[in-house]
Structures are given as C-alpha cells and as structure tokens.
C-alpha cells in the first residue's frame, strides 16, 4: 500500500494569496494512499526541506508530492531532499500550483479547486512510480573534429593539449580553410597566413592529433561517449607515406588550366595539385575530373594516357589505382566545425534562393566577391598582391564595395546579417587604398555594424585615414558600359540617386553554410535552421552544444562568425569535450524506454519513428541457435525519452520510465473526480 506525503507550499504569498493551501493539504490528507499532508510557507527553504525529510522517515513514506512551483524550478531540489532521507528520488514529484494556478487565476475557490485536482493527479501518478536508478555510461576519451578550418584546428589543438586523442577530418586536400585564403585580417591588418600556418603545422605534428585530409564523414552511429564514425578517405592517387612533397609532379602536369579553388577561381592550377604552397599536409592530390589519364579511363579508353606526373616522381609515389577507403574511428565526442561558403549571385541557385539579375547574375567579369578580393590582395594570390582586375589586368581606379548582398534581404531568402562583411569591407577599402594611392573606394552600406574590440575604431580609420567613401544606400543595378561598370544606387542620407562609373565592384555576398551541411546534420542527428546553420542547444546558455548529447559546434557552421568568435567557440567546444572526458562514466536520467520482449511482435514501427535511431532489431534464438523471433530492443544510452515509440506500439510492449502507461492513465483518471 502506498504511503504518499503531500507537501503544500505557500511560496510566501505567491500561492497562498489565491490558493487556500491549508484546504488543499486537508483535502489531500483524506485521499486514499496519502499518509501525510501538510502546508508550509516556504517548502524549498532549509526548514521546508527538513520537514519533508522528517516526514519521509517518521511516516515511512513511499512517495512524495510537493505542491508548489513548476518542476522546472525545484524538482531537482526536492528530489535531492527525498534522496537524502533515503527515498528513491524518482518517487518524488511536483504538482505545479503556482505558475499553472495561483499566478493565473483570481477566484480563490476556483484556484483552490484546481490546486486540489492538480495535487491529486500527481498523487495518483506517484502511486505508480517505480524507484529508478541513474544510468551510467562509459566514455571513449577520443574526439572527432569535422572541418579543418581555424575553428576545427583550434578545437583539435585544445583537446589534444588536454591530453586526449583527436581525429581531425577535412574534406579538402589541406587544412587551413577560408582563413588561409585571406590576405590580411581585421582589425589589426596582420597577415592571415603568418598567424595561421604555425597552427596548421602544430596540428599536423601534434602527437595526439590524427589528421585525415581529403576525407569526409560518411556515417555516425552510437551516442555520447560511444560514437562509431565511418570516414571516407577519398583516393588521393598519391601514396602519402612515400611522397616527400617535392612538387616535381606538379611541374610535370600538362594541364595547367584548371581553375584554382584556393584562388576563388581567379587563378589556375594543375590537375595534380596542392591547393597552396603552405598546404598541410604538403601531399598532392590528383583531381580526377580534370586529369587526362582519368578522363581517358572514364571514357573507356584502354590505352594509358599521359602519366607525366608518375614519370616525374622519383619516389614512385603516384598511384593511379588507389581507391576510396572507409575507415572506422571510435570516439566519445564530436565537434562540428565545417565553416561557410559564400552565396553566389548567379542564375542557378539551390532551392529557395534567387540570384541577382540586377547585378548581372554574376556574368560581369569585374564584379567579384569578398574572397576573390582577398586573393587579389594577397601576396600569394594570382596577381602576387598587385590589385589588378580580372577582365583585362588593369589597375582599377574606382572600386565600389557593396555591403549586404543577399544578407538582410528576405526577398533573396536570407534575412540574417552575415556579420563579418562590414569589417572586411572596411579592410578591403583600406587594403585597396594602401595599394592604389590615388584610387577611389566607395562603399554602399545599410548600417555599419562594427561591434567588437577595436572594430569601430577600425572602420573609422578606413574613413578618416584611408579616405573610404561611405554611401548609405543600396545599389539597384550593375551593368557594363563599355570599359566601366555602371553602379546605379541611391544615397538615402542625401536623398538622391547616385551613379558611379566603377572599374571593379566587390560584393559582400552572404555567408551560407557549406553545401553538404544538411546531410551531415542528419547523419549526426543535430538540428539546423532554415538556412542550414547548425542549431545550438540553447541560443544563450548552451551556445556550443547541440540537441544531440556529445555533439558540439564551433565556428561559422552555426552562424556567420569572424575569426575571434570562431576561435572562442572552438575553445569553448573543446572545454566541453574535455569536461566530458574528465569523468570516468556518464550519468543520465533514467527516463528511457524499454521493450517487453515477451509481448513484442517485432513489427519495428518503433524503429521507424525513433528520432535517435535508438531502436534495433534483436533476434531471439533457441538453444540450437535458430532464430525464433525478432523483437525490438532499445539502447538506453541512445534513447532520449520522448516516448514516441510507446505511443505507436500496437502490442503495448514499450514503457517509457517516468511516463509509463500506468502513470499516465492514473493521472487522466484522477481528473474524473472533479467536483
């Protein structure tokens, strides 16, 4: 027989003003199974908790109901108190008579009646509660970092420095990401590669970091502390163990006209290539789509074509027969740091986006984007740092920079601010003026958002010292007029239309997540917003966690981020990983579902609806090892306790602990006794 204690809290005046707490306690005292009922001014105070503990011991209570505030407020407090008095904490529940009753009603009788109902409902539930034990899960103290940009490198280094192994997976042939493409960085104008390359090398040489470039995450199984990750190592066609990075093969390659991804399409590279001279690792990759030999193989030509790279390689490292390889890694935590791509204004767009017809759909050669400008300004770029425009190599005398191209434009499907453009436009204007002293830099802006340490000073410097001309307004059209690009816009401060003949136009196009992000997010079971940016678990209080335990997020794959933000997020994510790895075992609430294997019919509907892939088919065998039946089996480590499986189970063979059918129906039935 249940012996439930009911404790009604006045919460000072908060509950007591509208609810007759003494009447609630008195009524509940007469309810079947209630062994003790009392009311008190502040249940959550030390004396209040002592009251509960004493009653549990004195009255040998089997369950406790605290009628007070929301369980989101104090459930932990009271469960701890119950546990200290020797009661299983899951036998203690709260009835919400403050947020859901006293604060939203004025009529004292009605509120009291509702409080009685609510308390009784919970009493009926607690009668069916079972003592539960916290679940313990082992932790594999090894991390996976996806993405080798500055965020991924930082996270990997921090975790590795903390003494744990890290697998760093990068889809490109080299780590470094977009930061390696930048010329100089704001607000200090220090050379991007000068500060990045040492970190790249450090990551490469770190004994705790296993670097996997030219690789992509294919599948992820398991759960926090126990992930099994399948990584596809794409065929490099070069034996990385043999190659010494001399570069002879690059010089031998007859194809020199492949647009270089690293130079944002402004320069060219060979078919066998390293993306840039400081690449880490410095092992080339054969781009099979552009290599003569592989193109011949794809066409079905039997004869061996070209092979000049293999002839040039004195180490014999070129291997045309190499295949993709699937590698399995066991890790306990995952950091997603896949970064961004820039929106392109072209006519062909992914779903939901539109291009910029008014800016020529990207078909005017001297209309470029921010990353292309970085390459033009970079000493390692296609023009060796001389600012020459792509069409004819002329030094542009007037350059127009356009802020917010796509960003903050709901019409184009991207209502958000891309955050970094205000700063890099100011930087570009400065870099341009430093290189072309008599040139004119005009910036069309909506607002200058320069929030950050030293940021506003930086944009002021662009105006005051480097003569950047800021025009507040939008550009409505760009079109070619002979040698120049006509920039038609509107100055909203002077209230007049503006027309400028520009030699080059730089568009600050919106930051978008990487193309494969949604697929990766689904592989990881993490949610993403309508643009494909990974959702953090809480926008303020859990900024680097995701809704899947053990998966963390850093950098621009979560939202547009600049370098300091990305690095800070990466270190925060690394701290979370190190925190996870600092315990021997994980503890978690036992609110998980379990299958009754004797009644399960093995329809596996539960498997289809489970958002976490926690349900697996389990074969039941007889003594001879023959399969007798197949039933569902739930992995308690993966189950998050939503209960969707239980609601769809046709044979009623699944029970979600803390929300069992018995508990739920007893609550519903308790409400039938309303006055």
């Amino acid at each position: 027989m249940a012996r439930i204690g009911v404790f009604v809290c006045h919460c000072g005046e908060n509950i007591g003003r509208t609810v007759d707490c003494a009447a609630v306690a008195e009524t509940l005292a007469g309810h079947p199974g209630v062994a003790h009922a009392e009311d008190y001014k502040y249940m959550c105070s030390d004396p209040g908790q002592a009251l509960i503990k004493r009653a549990i011991i004195d009255k040998r209570l089997t369950g406790v109901v605290v009628a007070a505030c929301s369980p989101h407020m104090h459930e932990k407090t009271f469960r701890r108190a119950a546990s200290q008095a020797g009661l299983n904490p899951f036998m203690c529940e709260m009835a919400n008579i403050r947020e859901h009753c006293s604060w939203i009603h004025e009529d004292r009788d009605a509120a009291t009646a509702k409080a009685i109902d609510t308390a009784r409902t919970i009493v009926e539930k607690v009668k069916h509660n079972e003592p539960l034990q916290t679940i313990h899960i082992p932790v594999t103290k090894r991390a996976l970092v996806i993405g080798g940009g500055i965020a991924g490198i930082q996270a990997a280094l921090d975790i590795a420095d903390g003494g744990h192994e890290v697998v760093l997976v990068e889809k490109d042939p080299s780590i470094g990401g977009h930061m390696a493409q930048l010329s100089e960085t704001f607000p200090t104008l220090d050379c991007s590669q000068c500060i990045l390359t040492p970190r790249m090398v450090e990551a490469y040489q770190h004994p705790n970091i296993k670097l996997m470039t030219w690789s992509e995450v294919e599948a992820v199984d398991g759960y926090i502390g126990n992930f099994t990750v399948t990584v596809r190592k794409k065929a490099r066609s070069v034996d990385a163990d043999v190659c010494n990075g001399c570069g002879d093969c690059l010089a031998a390659c007859p194809n020199r006209r492949t647009p270089s991804e690293f130079d944002a399409g402004l320069g060219t590279r060979s078919a066998i290539y390293v993306p840039f001279p400081q690449a880490v690792p410095n092992t080339p990759v054969i781009d099979r789509a552009n290599c003569g030999r592989f193109k011949a193989i794809a066409k079905g030509i039997k004869k061996e074509v070209c092979g000049k790279c293999a002839e040039a390689c004195l180490k014999g490292a070129i291997d045309f027969t190499q295949q993709d390889e699937l590698v399995t890694e066991e890790v306990g935590a995952i950091v997603v740091a896949t970064g961004y791509q820039l929106y392109s204004i072209g006519r062909a767009q992914p779903e939901g986006l539109t291009g910029y017809g008014e800016y020529g759909y990207g078909e005017i050669p001297d209309v470029i984007d921010g990353l292309q400008f970085e390459r033009l300004a970079s000493a390692s770029g296609p023009t060796a740092g001389e600012l020459r425009r792509p069409s004819d190599g002329k030094v542009p005398q007037t350059v127009v920079f356009v802020h917010c191209v796509g960003s903050r434009d709901p019409e184009k499907g991207m209502a958000y601010c891309s955050k970094i453009c205000c700063m890099y436009n100011a930087k570009h204007a400065m870099l341009y003026r430093h290189k072309v002293h008599d040139g004119r830099a005009v910036l069309f802006y909506m607002d200058v958002r320069a929030a950050g340490k030293g940021y506003d000073e930086f944009t002021r410097r662009a105006v005051e010292e480097d003569g950047a001309e800021y025009l507040r307004g939008r550009v409505s059209r760009l079109y070619r007029d002979g040698d120049v690009i006509k920039v038609v816009g509107y100055d909203t401060l002077a209230h007049e239309p503006v027309e400028i003949d520009a030699d080059m136009v730089v568009l600050a196009t919106a930051i978008r997540p990487q193309p494969g992000i949604k697929q990766l997010a689904q592989t990881l079971s993490v949610s993403y917003d309508e643009h494909g940016f990974i959702n953090e678990a809480h926008p303020k209080l859990r900024p680097v966690e995701t809704n899947t335990a053990g998966v963390y997020v850093a950098g621009a794959c979560q939202a547009p981020r600049d370098i300091p933000d990305s690095v800070a997020m990466a270190s925060a994510a690394a701290a979370k990983v190190l925190g996870l790895f600092s315990v021997a075992e994980l503890e978690r609430e036992p609110a998980v579902a379990a299958v009754n294997e004797t009644t399960c019919v093995g329809c596996l509907t539960c498997q289809r609806v489970c958002p976490y892939g926690a349900v697996e088919a389990k074969e039941i065998r007889d003594r001879d090892g023959n399969v007798v039946r197949t039933v569902a089996s739930i992995n308690p480590g993966v189950c998050q306790g939503c209960g969707t499986c239980q609601a769809v189970c046709m044979s009623k063979s699944i029970e979600l602990a803390t929300f069992t059918d018995a508990e739920m129906y007893s609550e519903i039935e308790a409400l039938a006794f309303w006055p």
Partner: protein, 305 residues
C-alpha cells in the same frame, strides 16, 4: 482554350496603331479570339492609388465578363491593362475578405482564375508559326540583320510574383519573338528601366531625361530600332523622341513588337498603322528593303553564275 481579347482604352484611342497592328498580326497568325462584350476601363493608373476596392473591381469586372462569355484565357496587349488584370486576379486569390465582398461590388460572381496573357508571351507561344511564315515568304527576308533593342519597361515583369512573367531583371521573351521574326536582338542595359510612364504630360522634362538614357543606350549598343509592348512606353519613346535626340542624330524608331512580326511575315506598313508613328519609319523600311533586295540580287547572281 478560348481566348478573349481585352483592348482597353489606349488601343481604341491614342494607340489605335497598336490595335491595328495587333489585330492584323493575330489574324495573320490565325490566333482566334473574341473581344470581350461590354468591356470597361481597367482603372490604370488612377483607380488603385485612390481605392483598393475600385482598383481591383474594375479589372475584375472585365475578367468576370470574359469568363461569363466562355473564355478561359485573356490577352491584354496594353501592358498597364495586363498588369491591372493580373494584379486583380492575384489580390483576389490572396485576400479572402476582398474576394468575399467583390461579387457585391461587381454584380457578377467572382471570376475563376483565367490565364492572362500579354502580347509578348502570346507571340512567344506562336514563335514557331512566325518562323514558318517568315520562311514561307517569296520576298527576301525583310528584317534579316535588323538590330533591335527589346524594351520591356516596368509593367510587364513587375512585380514578378504578380505577373509571373519572365525574369524581372533580365527578361528574354521579347528577344525570342524578335529572333523568330528574323531580326537580331541586341544585348543592352536599359530593357527594364522606367520610361516615365504617365509623367509624359505632367513632367515632360523628366520623361525626356529618362527616355534619353534609354534611346542613347540602345543606340550605343548598335540598335536600329526599339521594340516595345506598351502604349505608354511607345508614346514616350515615339512622341517625345524628338526631344531625346541630339542634333545630327537620326531618330531611332520605336516599333511595337507586333509591328516587327507583321513586317516580317509580309504585312504592309499601312496594315500595321506605321504611318501613325511620330518617328518616321520610312527611312528604316526603305533601307531594309534595299538591303533585302541587294542580298536577293547577289544570291540570284551567285545562283545563275
């Protein structure tokens, strides 16, 4: 499909030549259509700034009449009429309250959604037939090599979610028609710039300034004529062109897209109402004819030798 023809006021008044040209061309292309009986003004451009209900009711009445008279498609050659008909249909679809009170205002039940055509998309649909007719001519092709700037103006393509016609920034349908007629569309920059519209009367100088840019850009890109599909655009670029043309420059004829098709398939300038244009089309036609003649003679000479 049953096509109804909504002429609108301009085609019966200041732009009579557009109707003459349009009817001659549709007849020649064997496009069957019936003028809506008892049609009334579409309200452009005065009604909708004054009253939303009136701005929707005026075109909706004509759509209702067309539907009652058995049509499921309507063509409105005037761009403003086209825009108002499309806007009314769009707003009735988007606003249930408006749709509910409309029958009371109209005295007709709410028209079903009709397919509303402008002259450009109608002709583009008949492009193969235009090509056929051009090819079937015994005379040498008149428009071969004629460089034409396709001018859309505002009302055909904007707002694009209402008209749903082509691309608001870089449309290409008129170019299809021009090519089908045997002429060569030029790539230029002012295809969707504003011509000044109804300010032609109240602020003539503004219209002249806007029109000058359009004409100058067409000329700079080698155009010999500008093709238009709107009575108001035509009025501005034709009537006001004298003021847009610098001394010593030849004026640039503004031709309706139907004029080009008509000339290509062998209709006479008289049938197309070209004499009503302010910019004299004679010199252009004469030079085209001479060129065609010369090409034909050269071809004949080559054949006989």
């Amino acid at each position: 499909m049953t096509l109804a023809y909504y002429p609108g006021c301009s085609l019966k008044g200041t732009s009579r030549e557009f109707e003459e040209s349009f009817l001659a061309v549709t007849r020649a292309l064997r496009i069957e259509m019936t003028e809506i009986d008892d049609w009334s003004c579409c309200g452009a451009s005065s009604a909708h700034p004054i009253s939303r209900d009136l701005g929707v009711a005026l075109p909706a009445r004509n759509l209702a009449l067309a539907a009652e008279q058995g049509a499921d498609e309507v063509v409105a050659p005037c761009a403003a009429c086209y825009n108002r008909l499309a806007t009314a249909q769009h707003e009735l679809g988007a606003d249930a309250d408006l749709a509910a009170r409309m029958p009371g205002i109209l005295g007709h039940s709410l028209p079903p959604a009709l397919h509303i055509h402008n002259v450009v998309d109608l002709l583009a649909a008949y492009a193969p037939r235009i090509e056929e007719l051009v090819a079937a001519r015994v005379d040498p092709p008149l428009l071969a090599g004629l460089r034409v700037a396709a001018y859309y103006g505002c009302l055909l393509v904007r707002p694009n979610e209402v008209t749903g016609f082509d691309d608001a920034e870089q449309p290409a349908t008129m170019e299809t028609v021009i090519s089908a007629a045997g002429a060569s569309p030029v790539a230029w920059n002012m295809a969707v710039e504003c011509c000044g519209g109804a300010f032609s009367i109240s602020r003539t100088q503004s219209v002249v300034r806007l029109g000058r840019r359009i004409v100058a850009d067409a000329r700079a890109h080698g155009a010999q004529a500008i093709a238009v599909a709107c009575p108001l655009c035509h009025t501005n670029l034709d009537l006001r062109q004298a003021a847009m043309t610098a001394r010593g420059e030849e004026p640039l004829p503004a031709l309706f897209i139907t004029d080009l098709v008509g000339l290509a398939i062998g209709l006479s300038p008289g049938e197309l109402g070209l004499a009503r244009h302010f910019v004299d089309t004679e010199p252009l036609l004469a030079s085209l004819a001479a060129e065609a003649e010369a090409t034909a003679t050269a071809a004949a000479a080559q054949e006989s030798s």
